[in-house]
Symmetry: C2
Subunit: 192 residues, 2 copies
DNA sequence: GAAATTTCTTATCATAGATCAATTGGCGCT
DNA sequence: AGCGCCAATTGATCTATGATAAGAAATTTC
């Protein structure tokens, strides 16, 4: 499974075999069955996590017990709660697997020390956070400007992989609408 | 006006007088009158910008001509379109001043070279982007989970300075509701 | 491969918030 | 003080989406 991470890294940055050995030596793997939690609300998140295989979601449960999906992550995506990681406070989110999955984990201390020793890795992390921020801004824009239909079309076109693999009710949750509304919207689009 | 930026930086990181001289030598200042644009849709954004004085907004205009406010920025906040800055593509956003303002600008090339020479500045930038990302995630969560009233209360409590200074219709736009709805919500809250 | 479970669709009704339209209030300007 | 301008409030509808419910389709389980 480390090969997936290695392939990902070597596609983005230049590292030596020695560097990879160092990374692998602090990597932990966690297999998750469908529905299994990687993190639960109240836990403190202490890792950097990379999805080697499968599909996961980050979500929050509101006062009425309704789940709201913040993010999805599949192979070659990072996942976790950066706020909890940064502050050391318990997370308000849950993360669980939507499919059987394998996640690579490197704890905060080890990861920080890797970043110090491997500047390209450090740069990569900053690039990813930067991109995540930009994507978040665009998602906020979608919430502000788009109708339910426009939000779905934007999602489908921007993340076709997720649109194919994620159950429809969860796409609805991610887009901030009910499954019924999404179902209606899909029918409307199909009719055109 | 550089003193504002210097005070901001010295509160967060350790730099020498020489470092500050270097920063100041590449800093440009732009005075903006109320309603004046700092950037318009279609422009390519090539700066890092820090608000020394005043209040600005980043917003988008949708197909129907409705403005949607993505962000506010006041003294000691950074502003700009990081997507346009990173990609070199024209921005889809507008930035203008809600009050007479002064903005410090450092163009991309100069800023990048400053970051290379001054590691603490580099770290600070990454910290800010990281925090911005976390704030964006929380805002997304608010869009997913909160009613109009909850969104307003969250905003008012988290950003009391903006809640005081920003015209109400613009707060409504930022929160993704109409000015009428916000007005009614405030009345309801007051009655309790 | 049939039963059980879950997901998706469809229909009807309910509602938060939008839209449209005045009215009121605040503030600078002459 | 009075006029003009813009922001905020209020009221009267309207509408997109939510809530509920029930059946159809798909998927899982044994």
């Amino acid at each position: 499974m480390f090969s997936v991470f290695r392939a990902y890294l070597s596609d983005k940055i230049q590292l030596s075999d020695e560097d990879y050995r160092m990374i692998e030596s602090v990597s932990m793997f966690k297999k998750l069955r469908k529905r299994q939690y990687l993190m639960q609300e109240g836990d403190i998140w202490r890792n950097n996590a990379f999805v080697c295989q499968g599909l996961l979601r980050t979500y929050r449960v509101d006062d009425k017990g309704v789940e709201h999906i913040i993010n999805f992550a599949m192979e070659n995506w990072w996942i976790g709660d950066r706020e909890s990681l940064a502050t050391g406070n318990p997370s308000g989110f849950n993360i669980d697997a939507l499919e059987d999955s394998v996640v690579l984990l490197i704890n905060k201390e080890n990861f920080d020390s890797l970043c110090k020793k491997l500047p390209p890795l450090n740069d990569l992390v900053h690039t990813i956070i930067h991109r995540s921020f930009i994507a978040s801004q665009n998602r906020i824009n979608a919430f502000l400007s788009y109708t339910a239909e426009e939000k779905y079309i934007y999602f489908r076109d921007k993340y076709p992989d997720f649109a194919m693999r994620v159950p429809q009710q969860m796409i609805a949750s991610y887009l901030g609408m009910t499954p019924e509304t999404l179902s209606r919207i899909k029918r409307q689009i199909a009719r055109k």
